[in-house]
Amino acid sequence: MTLDTVKHANETPDVEQPWAELGLKQDEYERIRAILGRRPTGAELAMYSVMWSEHCSYKSSKVHLRQFGEKAPENDALLVGIGENAGVVDVGQGYAVTFKVESHNHPSYIEPYQGAATGVGGIVRDILAMGARPVAVMDPLRFGAADHPDTKRVLPGVVAGIGGYGNCLGLPNIGGEVVFDPCYQGNPLVNALCVGVMKHEDIHLAKASGTGNKVVLYGARTGGDGIGGVSVLASETFDSTGPAKRPAVQVGDPFQEKLLIECTLELFREDLVEGIQDLGGAGLSCATSELASAGSGGMRVELDTVPLRDATLSPEEILMSESQERMCAIVEPGKIDRFLEICEKWDVIATVIGEVTDGERLEIFWHGEQIVDVPPRTVAHEGPVYERPYARPEWQDALQADGADKLPRPETAEELRAQVLKVVASPNQASKSWITGQYDRFVQGNTVLAQPEDSGMVRIDEETGLGVAVATDGNGRYAKLDPYAGAQLALAESYRNVAATGARPLAISNCLNFGSPEDPGVMWQFAEATRGLADGCLELGTPVTGGNVSLYNQTGETAIHPTPVVAVLGVIDDVARRTPMAFAEEGQLLYLLGDTRDELGGSAWSQVIHDHLGGLPPAVDLGREKLLAEILISASRDGMVDAAHDLSDGGLVQAVVESCLRGGKGARLVVPDGLDAFTFLFSESAGRAVVSVPRSEELRFTDMCGARGLPATRVGVVDGDSVEVQGHFTLPLAELREAHEGTLPALFG
């Protein structure tokens, strides 16, 4: 067994290396040789291969993601932008909030419980690494058909994993989404979001500066899990005395992560941390190269000092291991003792593994022999960038021409009633409490709103009542019909959801889930969606603070629907003024805000009743979204509405049913002039919400809408114990509740 040192690499330039098995292209391998002026060592090859992977380097998406910076709106609230572990936003009163959404799609399909669990763990460490206390999580999820046998394997595992990990960390799970569609059958989407809070002065960055400062690895021991493709390298370089094969999916230990959180926050409180990075994808390779690349000097690491779970691990494997619950900190020598003392208090293993040097190289040693000698920027920040070809798919025109206007609509009141019941009971429109009931939403004692409310809201200051709200949305059906509009509709819905609860939208994060970038049609969807999102954020004044791209979500030739998930963060000065969704007071008036047009393309109705996807999604009017948001926020601040609920998939009837069930009160609806009952109930026109207005506030509210030019139509009253559409049908709440709440328990038990 020979150690492939730098010296050895220099002496043996012609050794065949398994670059293709590690996922590198020939030209990428040649480029590594050119950078180093020799062949890479096995350890270097492993580092480049993971850091230049799509997941870490964003090589296919980078050219499009640049728009988020180039088109960023002027916004004083942004304290830390794209590129760090997570963006940071000023929310006033000296507080800063950091939030980010990330994907853990592929691992969650292979091993649903651990895949989803470690997805939560990873995003929580990203937030922690910014210097923030994590205060809430939420999970946008997409599964295959609800009644498909494999969904019964994937969904319960994912939900148990999110709960098992998140509940054990003491983070309230306050929202998210669950969507079923056959396009996700072989590629479920498990996105995870975390929000953290800190004071401005507590912001920490991932950089290694200050010659002589120590590099400390702390948290779990490093094991052989999550190594994935790199084991190819190990088997090439080493003989059969190596470690037993471990799962490619990492295994999480939330107890260790909880200790890591509390320990890290105490380290921050005592100002013992110069720079910090969590260990996620690509493990130590990523953490050391990113810290060194962003800092002022170089870094020297003694890899054999890393505490191991498995003593037989090779240096390559240690560099690649994605063992969970680890952090890497840069610490001044004079503060090391106190640093280690705090780690000991929390029973967290901490080891000095290296130091910041005044050179410009990242140098890694194994028992005194050098195995890595690279310019860190070439690993971390100067990877390959591809201008992938893209082209509008040829089927796009036919898809858009196949409009929902051709679908037969209900002809009788009886038929309309049956379709309403069918839609609200369909898996996508049904209550998700079977899932969210497995997540702790109360812990930390600051939860103001949690699912199924329009946005999740937590208090961040007990004295002043300052709070933040977050919503995530994304409609793959809309995006399939028109990716540019679809991305903007996701943004608009999430923005609207935040405003509906009374919070002012400030900034966004996103998770862009697409098929293979090597398919020009998919690449076109990606280009269109990013362009739409960047343009939309510019118009709404909400900058992108960061996010994540997940590509290759496809089975064979079939890609998932393009699924840009958008998370909007908002702020509310006093959570006492929040607007819930429940219709709770008899006699209050229901107003429909916005314009309702005949827009059924991509709608829930077209899916549930006709299994149809075609035509165009609802028209986007971001100016109107902004106005609607201003009205909803003013109404909340001045106490003009008691409840508000955004209108999206399923249309008005879905929103009214949800608000009625939530409040335990019925509603009498009247179809307004100029609309037929079907369009009134099922249209999914954007830029709309329904609000419940106390009679005493009616005039003030309608005056405000009138003065600002927002259409507000009185459509009914909160009353009784059924949802009645006058002149058409009546649905008792009990029947609606059974339909709406019975679906998921019946499917998943």
Binding site: D253, F255, Q444, G445, T447, R578
Partner: protein, 226 residues
């Protein structure tokens, strides 16, 4: 001068800060207690909050009972120190045998988080005196190992001595025997329950109800008047 209530933090404890807040809202002084410290710092009562102490490894509460702080808690509880165990704290109390019985995995095998209706069966304990017997309250419930079990004789004894303090209403959430949500020791100073009163002490937050505040005002009255 008010009374001091110690709130224990084990590694993996989650609801310690929430419990300290509830104690403060009730007008008491919260005192953080660390699992490695045997000294209770002259507190007048102790709360063992919820969470997953020591990762629930081996069994929920099984390792915590051996921690240094518990040595003193057990000793002083036997001498009358008021102790409240919430959720994981209740599990710790059964492991220490300050309270009888044990908690098993929920009968449906899922974590469950919901607003739970309870009936106060015994309003004479140190932690329930501010309620009335028979009163119905709603507080959040959130656990995966919440199914209370004990042998028939123990259950009969608990019933006969009025030591069942809370019972689940509107559906047993986890298969607990005789719908038991919380119990007390014979002296009435040690109480354990699975639901979370500390999450129901402020309007607007959580369920928006304040039904849990009575636990903390009960102990305040007991400590300040005695």
């Amino acid at each position: 001068m008010t009374a001091r209530v110690g709130v224990v933090t084990f590694p993996g404890t989650l609801d310690d800060r929430d419990t300290q807040r509830a104690v403060r809202i009730a007008g008491l002084e919260p005192v953080p207690l660390w699992h490695r410290d045997k000294d209770l710092h002259q507190v007048d009562a102790v709360v063992l909050p919820g969470g997953f102490s020591y990762g629930d490894y081996l069994r929920a509460g099984a390792i915590s009972r051996f921690s240094p702080v518990m040595e003193t808690v057990i000793e002083q509880a036997k001498g009358g120190l008021p102790v409240l165990g919430i959720c994981n704290g209740f599990q710790v109390l059964t492991e220490t045998h300050l309270l009888p019985g044990a908690m098993l995995r929920n009968n449906h095998l899922h974590f469950i988080c919901r607003d739970q209706k309870l009936r106060v069966e015994n309003a004479d304990t140190a932690w329930t005196a501010d309620y009335e017997a028979g009163q119905e309250i709603s507080v959040p419930l959130k656990n995966i190992d919440g199914r209370y079990v004990a042998d028939e004789r123990t259950l009969d004894e608990l019933e006969a001595e009025g030591r069942v303090v809370f019972r689940y209403l509107d559906g047993n959430p986890n298969g607990s025997l005789r719908d038991i949500a919380g119990i007390t020791n014979a002296a009435g100073n040690v109480v354990g329950l699975m639901p979370h009163p500390e999450h129901a002490v402020e309007p607007l937050i959580g369920t928006g109800r304040t039904d849990g505040l009575g636990f903390f005002t009960s102990i305040l009255k007991k400590l300040v008047t005695s």
